[in-house]
């Protein structure tokens, strides 16, 4: 059990994160910027817990690859279990209870299901447990006391608020070792002094660091929203304390069958906690949302569409990712309504001041050629990161937008930082060669195109006038097919047929081949609203569409008094007509 247990744990954790939660791993990586520089280290080291944070962020950079992130997490949790096991066995030899030592890594595993629970929290717990192993359990009382007093301030500075766990565990250990040797009152005084010392360091720190005192006591960097009291994380701190107490209080089991029973029950309990925790706290919806974001970021449009095909997009953000994928694969005119559309918010989700939602929208802007808007959304998303970290993903995009806009000095700043990273340095080095060379940027497949597509004339961004803004992009450059498809889709989703027809007449020259299905449906609808038949229709609307709209109208009339939405969904649910008449969403 002692050999095979850690292996099982490691493999289970690895497989879970690799297969079930890979995009949570990417989520962590993209919201940090680990720099190989002394300044970066110093910036973290000057606050309690900062060194553990530095170590954690060093490890988190490897989350660039989800398999590497899964390995890191697995190794961390196995290390936690092994060190905790070592602590227990160094006190008393009760191997029957060792399965309970797995409760701690399992608790941390469950906490890690929340994408805002930071790797720094796990690293800090590990460091604290390692510090506990340094306690000389076989030494004299004086030596042990000295060890405690010397270790605690360093531990507080290295690992932060979790050093309280160290204090509590050592209090328990001291009680266990000395309860028969010294008077209870002396023991109590020792304990009180130890705990008082544990609280004194945060108090001292509060005189020169500007953080709320509760944060200095309980830890600053363990949860991404540093100001939010994520109380659940302290359950994980209570677990080793509880296990330690159980371990020390309860007997080892004299008979083999008793020991086996203890082990089996311990393992069963741990397993039950693991299964229940994973079942109830695995957030599949967020994993999907992060998957969308990752695939958009890596421009893997087919994977975006595959996600949408397996389960309908659950939010405007996911829908905007799908719509972008449709545009980039040239399928917007055909497949827009294969996915349930919610209006124009599915193209441009409303702006929210958080660190997640603006990023997908910034991607949409970037691909449209709205470079300044892409820059703004990216910058604001990064500024909204609750633990004040910078983002490698955002720095990369900001370097690009500034290169495109000719702001080479600013681009150089971002590239300089990215060259201090492990996984972005090469890209940044290549990008730096473009700085200052507008002609070379013009030849870049992405940046050159963005330069050609971006706005030329001064105006202010108008969230209420997106169709006008899209129209200007189309007028400026007929090669901007994404803008063309977005303009058409915007007007269709807004149910503004008049404007759609006008836009279509202006910008449909760039359509290659037959008119896409949805545009034919819209044109047909427009035509029949103003004419009796298709005799003089100026667009090439297929016979099939002409027939189908007639059938739709007839069916609508037939079922008008019952439930036409339900009755017509099967045959017409993917059509524009169904959207116009039956989809409830606010008009812009």
């Amino acid at each position: 059990m002692r050999r095979i247990g850690p292996v099982i744990l490691g493999i289970a954790v690895f497989l879970f994160f690799l297969l079930c939660y890979p995009f949570h791993i990417h989520f962590h990586e993209q919201y940090q910027l680990f720099l190989f520089s002394f300044d970066y280290f110093l910036e973290l080291a000057v606050r309690p817990g900062g060194i553990a944070v530095w170590l954690a962020r060093f490890l988190t950079q490897f989350f660039y690859y989800s398999w590497a992130g899964a390995v890191v997490i697995a190794l961390l949790l196995v290390a936690v279990q092994q060190v905790f096991q070592k602590i227990l066995l160094s006190l008393e030899n009760k191997p029957a209870w060792i399965p309970l030592s797995y409760l701690l890594p399992v608790s941390l595993w469950i906490l890690l299901l929340n994408e805002n629970y930071m790797i720094a929290a796990v690293v800090s717990v590990l460091i604290t447990l390692i510090a506990v192993t340094l306690y000389p359990v076989n030494g004299t009382s004086q030596r042990r006391t000295l060890c405690y007093f010397l270790t605690l301030p360093f531990l507080y500075w290295i690992a932060g608020g979790v050093s309280i766990l160290y204090a509590v565990m050592l209090v328990i250990i001291k009680w266990s070792l000395d309860r028969d040797k010294i008077r209870k009152i002396n023991l109590l005084l020792h304990v009180l002094a130890a705990l008082a010392l544990a609280f004194s360091y945060p108090l001292l720190t509060s005189s020169f660091l500007q953080y709320p005192l509760p944060k200095l006591i309980l830890g600053i960097d363990y949860y991404r929203y540093y100001y939010y009291p994520f109380y659940f994380q302290y359950v994980a701190w209570a677990v080793p304390v509880a296990v330690l107490l159980i371990y020390l209080i309860f007997p080892a089991g004299r008979e083999k069958k008793n020991r086996l029973l203890i082990s089996v029950l311990g393992a069963a309990m741990t397993g039950a906690v693991a299964v229940a925790g994973l079942y109830f706290f695995t957030d599949r919806d967020k994993e999907r949302a992060f998957a969308y974001d990752y695939h958009v970021r890596t421009e893997n449009w087919q994977k975006v569409l595959k996600l949408a095909g397996s389960k309908a997009p659950a939010s405007d953000l996911e829908l905007s990712a799908v719509n972008l994928a449709l545009a980039k694969t040239g399928k917007m005119g055909e497949d827009l309504f294969r996915y349930t559309q919610t209006g124009v918010e599915g193209l441009f989700p409303p702006y929210r001041r958080d660190f997640v939602s603006p990023l997908i929208t910034s991607e949409v802007f970037f691909h449209l050629g709205m470079v300044n808007s892409a820059q703004r959304y990216t910058f604001d998303a990064m500024e909204a990161i609750p633990d004040f970290q910078k983002s490698a993903r955002c720095y990369k995009r900001l370097a690009e937008t500034n290169l495109i806009n000719g702001q080479y000095g600013v681009a150089g700043l971002y590239l300089k930082f990215l060259r201090q990273t492990l996984f972005y340095a090469q890209w940044a080095g290549k990008a730096q060669n473009f700085a200052g060379n507008g002609e070379r940027i013009d030849t870049h497949p992405v940046w050159g195109q963005a330069r050609r597509f971006r706005y030329r004339d001064e105006m202010l961004f108008s969230p209420d006038g997106m169709h006008t803004m899209l129209g200007i992009l189309c007028s400026q450059n007929s090669q901007n097919l994404t803008a063309r498809d977005y303009l058409f889709s915007y007007l269709l989703l807004a149910r503004d047929l008049e404007s759609f027809v006008a836009a279509f007449d202006n910008f449909s020259d760039s359509l290659n081949g037959p008119i896409p299905l949805l545009y034919q449906q819209a044109l047909a609808l427009y035509w029949v609203q103003h004419h009796e038949n298709f005799g003089q229709v100026p667009w090439n609307i297929s016979e099939e569409i002409q027939t189908q709209i007639g059938k739709f109208a007839a069916s609508y009339a037939q079922y008008a008094s019952s439930n036409p939405a339900k009755l017509l969904r099967k045959e017409y649910g993917n059509t524009y007509w169904y959207y116009v008449f039956f989809t409830k969403n606010p008009r812009p």
């Binding site: 300044d39 509060s206 500007q210 953080y211 709320p212 540093y226 100001y227 001041r353 709205m370 470079v371 300044n372 808007s373 703004r376 910058f379 604001d380 998303a381 990064m382 500024e383 909204a384 990161i385 004040f388 910078k390 806009n405 000719g406 702001q407 000095g409 600013v410 700043l413 300089k416 930082f417 971006r454 706005y455 030329r456 004339d457 001064e458 105006m459 202010l460 961004f461 803004m469």
Partner: protein
């Protein structure tokens, strides 16, 4: 005559290319250094002007600073950064106060030594205040991350936080203002759910709720009355819009702007009808003698559609500090609208002789306008001009006068067009401005290359700012705010 002139020119050239005492190739040009300290005017008590030699290929740099008395200060470096000893630098400046220094830079390049033409640094005997207080904030759009108010001592490189928004989470701070640079009287706004206005005077900290039932919003841009009895504030409803072309990023405008005066002793707002009209009245400041209130005014417009037509004049109204009453009419001091310009942020010098203000093509927020410049209004002649010495091709904006009225600090984006840095310029008693210099740093290139924050609203301060942070934290967390009263005049 011609021969004399030619001889004179030859002599000048010979002097300009005078070789250093040691062997080396002499360059007739100035060295390329960052920051550009060539020909700047500095105060006698400024921190060392450490600089980086940015000449290509240089692998060892040396600098000799020579005073007119023959005293010198030498420095050499293997990493291109010239760092002067603080103690020796201070002594050298004191010995050359009112005079100038010559800095000779030489570099080693491919084994050869190149000596550049010495460049002057003029040492004014006008001292500068103890320090500046500013906000560090990323040059963003609508969202802020970590930010804070910091104090930097100008005779050294010491910098310390006054307030950081990690103390009271999810807050933003701005509009720090001192009474004639005194750290004993200052205000600071904290925005957010637990926000309020910090007013500290003579060691007493008050946390104010400044929104009243009779005013349109909480206090915004402040200015102390020289007596310390009043603070004038604007009340603004500010909105942002965003440019889509590469040249500009943000456009800030007000949907509402009024001015009120806060009576510090009686904790009440004094409202003058002439300053709370349908027009936008903003950026109020008291004159140095406290008898006049200057402000910017523009008619309300259909925003954001008419954003390019929004232009502000510089106006004023008299103020009676005895009873807190105002004059019966406002007066236009500079009709910027007639010139097709807009004025913002007027700031009178402490001696009352000048007002420095921002001028731009339109709008109300100069930091977002590349064309924004600083202008100087002479209060005796009522004539104004744009001093070319302190302006650049990029934005110059927020400015503050030192307590002796001989120095201004202002914010500029001239380095890269994005990040705002503080520059200092000497202003003589007759309004002549010297070449500005960037805030000195111990390792300037490394510092500014890595800095991801802008210096926002640099204000001179004559001593360290002491703010009881834990008291502030308690008041904010318990919402222990003092409600401001209201009185209409």
């Amino acid at each position: 005559m011609r021969r004399c002139f030619t001889g004179f020119v030859v002599l000048l050239l010979a002097l300009a290319c005078k070789p250093s005492p040691e062997n080396g190739t002499v360059s007739c040009g100035y060295p390329s250094v960052f920051p550009d300290y060539i020909g700047v005017t500095v105060p006698v008590n400024i921190a060392p002007l450490n600089f980086d030699v940015t000449e290509r290929g240089a692998d060892r740099v040396m600098a000799v600073v020579a005073g007119t008395n023959g005293d010198t200060l030498r420095c050499s470096s293997g990493d291109k950064t010239i760092r002067f000893s603080l103690k020796k630098w201070s002594a050298l400046l004191k010995a050359n106060s009112g005079d100038s220094l010559l800095i000779t830079v030489s570099v080693r390049h491919n084994g050869k030594r190149i000596v550049f033409r010495p460049f002057p640094v003029y040492v004014s005997d006008d001292s500068i205040d103890y320090g500046i207080v500013f906000r560090h904030i990323a040059p963003g759009y609508e969202v802020y991350s970590k930010m804070g108010i910091y104090e930097r001592e100008l005779s050294s490189f010491r910098q310390k936080p006054v307030y950081e928004n990690t103390l009271i989470p999810q807050t933003c701070v701005n509009c720090h203002s001192f009474r004639q640079a005194s750290p004993d009287s200052f205000v600071l706004h904290v925005r957010g759910e637990k926000g309020g206005t910090i007013l500290q005077q003579n060691g007493v900290l008050r946390y104010l709720q400044t929104k009243t039932d009779s005013t349109a919003g909480a206090f915004s841009y402040p200015c102390w009355h020289p007596s310390g009895k009043y603070i004038v504030f604007s009340i603004n409803r500010t909105f942002q819009s965003f440019h889509v072309t590469r040249e500009d990023r943000v456009e800030v405008f007000d949907r509402l702007a009024d001015i009120v005066v806060y009576d510090v002793q009686h904790n009440k707002v004094l409202n003058c009808g002439l300053l709370t009209t349908e027009d936008h009245e903003t950026y109020p400041v008291f004159s140095a003698d406290g008898r006049m209130l200057y402000f910017c005014s523009a008619p309300a417009m259909n925003m954001p559609a008419d954003y390019k037509k929004l232009r502000y004049n510089l106006c004023r109204i008299s103020f009676n500090p005895q009873d807190g009453t105002f004059g019966t009419e406002t007066e236009t001091v500079i009709d910027a609208v007639a010139l097709g310009k807009s004025i913002a942020m007027p700031v009178p010098s402490c001696d009352g002789r000048y007002i420095m203000f921002s001028i731009m093509d339109y709008g109300t927020f100069p930091i977002n306008h590349r064309e924004a410049d600083l202008a100087l209004l002479n209060m005796e002649t009522m004539e104004w001009h744009i001093p070319q010495a302190i302006n650049s091709n990029d934005v110059e904006s927020y400015h503050s006068w030192s307590s002796n009225s001989r120095w201004v600090v202002f914010a500029s984006r001239r380095r890269d067009g994005l990040f705002v840095h503080p520059y200092f310029a000497h202003v003589s008693s007759n309004g002549i401005t010297g070449k500005p210099f960037m805030l000195p740093q111990r390792n300037p290139q490394q510092f500014y290359d890595r800095l991801i924050y802008s210096y926002n609203c640099p204000e001179f301060v004559s001593g360290p700012v002491r703010l009881d942070l834990r008291q502030l934290e308690r008041k904010a967390n318990t919402m222990d705010k003092e409600q401001v009263g209201y009185e209409s005049i």
